[in-house]
Symmetry: C2
Subunit: 252 residues, 2 copies
Amino acid sequence: MDLQRFAATVSYDGRAFAGSQRQPNGRTVQEELERAAAVLFGGPTRVDMAGRTDTGVHAIGQVAAFSVVTALPAATVGRALNAHLPEDVSVRDVASVLEGFDPRRWARRRWYRYTVHNAEVRAPLLRQRAWHVPGTLAVGAMQAAASALTGRRDCSACAGALEPGRNPVRTVFAAGWVCESDLLLFDIEADAFLPQMVRRLVGALIRVGRGTLEGEEFVRLLAQARPGSLGPSAPPQGLCLQRVAYDEGYLP
Amino acid sequence: MDLQRFAATVSYDGRAFAGSQRQPNGRTVQEELERAAAVLFGGPTRVDMAGRTDTGVHAIGQVAAFSVVTALPAATVGRALNAHLPEDVSVRDVASVLEGFDPRRWARRRWYRYTVHNAEVRAPLLRQRAWHVPGTLAVGAMQAAASALTGRRDCSACAGALEPGRNPVRTVFAAGWVCESDLLLFDIEADAFLPQMVRRLVGALIRVGRGTLEGEEFVRLLAQARPGSLGPSAPPQGLCLQRVAYDEGYLP
């Protein structure tokens, strides 16, 4: 049996997780994946992940990679892992990848979606997937402000505190709002994201929609290279990591 | 101030409820509504409901009615009730109704939707709203069997145990499946439903889809007037009471 490296697309309900990455306190997605792999393959297994999601943030397209000595084909590894994972995490599209595959560094693009429930009355069945925002929102102004996001720039303004020396430059390929009845979906695609970036953007864009932040002021704050200048974050339950893309040939 | 009767459309996430109707043990939707109304109106308030939903079953269109002495207009009553309700229940479209309005007896039609997630891998974010059914399903056969449901008949076959003397005759106006990517939605409209009726129908229709129950046998079992002859129920988390309709003029 040879050492094989696998990559898997991972979905999780973020509510009961203190985020994706292992940490001293709190249950994390990485730990659950490592625990399931350890049981399945009979020993400690390190799992690397493409993106760091915060406490309470969901995913349907996180990517995780791990190297194990096994004769099992990728599809069987996926089924077996799911049998050992708790009900709020699952893997799909498990694929063999190159030995050095690093799901974070090799990622080329990431997509996030933030769901806003824009209705007067809160909806119990949406409360764990969406941010309830009552009142009229100027969606045209939110859309115009979102269109200012595309391009390559220092994104410190929409990040929380950054470690010293961390490169805050990111390229946003597309960002915009889609209306689906009383849901407002914010989709954003970038090469990578800074911590809290999507939630701070949504927080500010909703203020634009409410008329408490002018579109021009949004653009001015965005241009500031000071962490957090865009203001408070939208809550985590509206956010979902949708997809991570790699260069052709580096599955999944 | 006069005694006013109000009707409200009620939504709830059924997971933490032992069903809709008050009972000796377990938290129920009726109790939460009565508790909120008692706080708001300063005294015991009886709440009547249109349909009895089982433990774990959701609603976006349940109807509840209550009579209170208040000068508040209906819209204000709705906002105030929501402020006193827990996050897994909310009311909307509160309206003044006739003094004798009985949400159960006056209901003319009810709509339920059952959501099946038909995919190989379970989806953590759908697990509390859908029944995960892996494997290929013969949707055409399920659709043909569903079309046999319309009409007026003794529906004992798709009920659990019935109290002696209860009329088991129901009229199904429409029933059918809709595919939305990997979701299969079963929509059914009837004058009223027997206990467990939708879940037993879905359980049997999924067996038709899997090929373990012939469509002709489904129709034969349906015609039997013996409670439960249609076989085991689908699980509760896939079911949602969508809407209850009244004759023109009897809001909501």
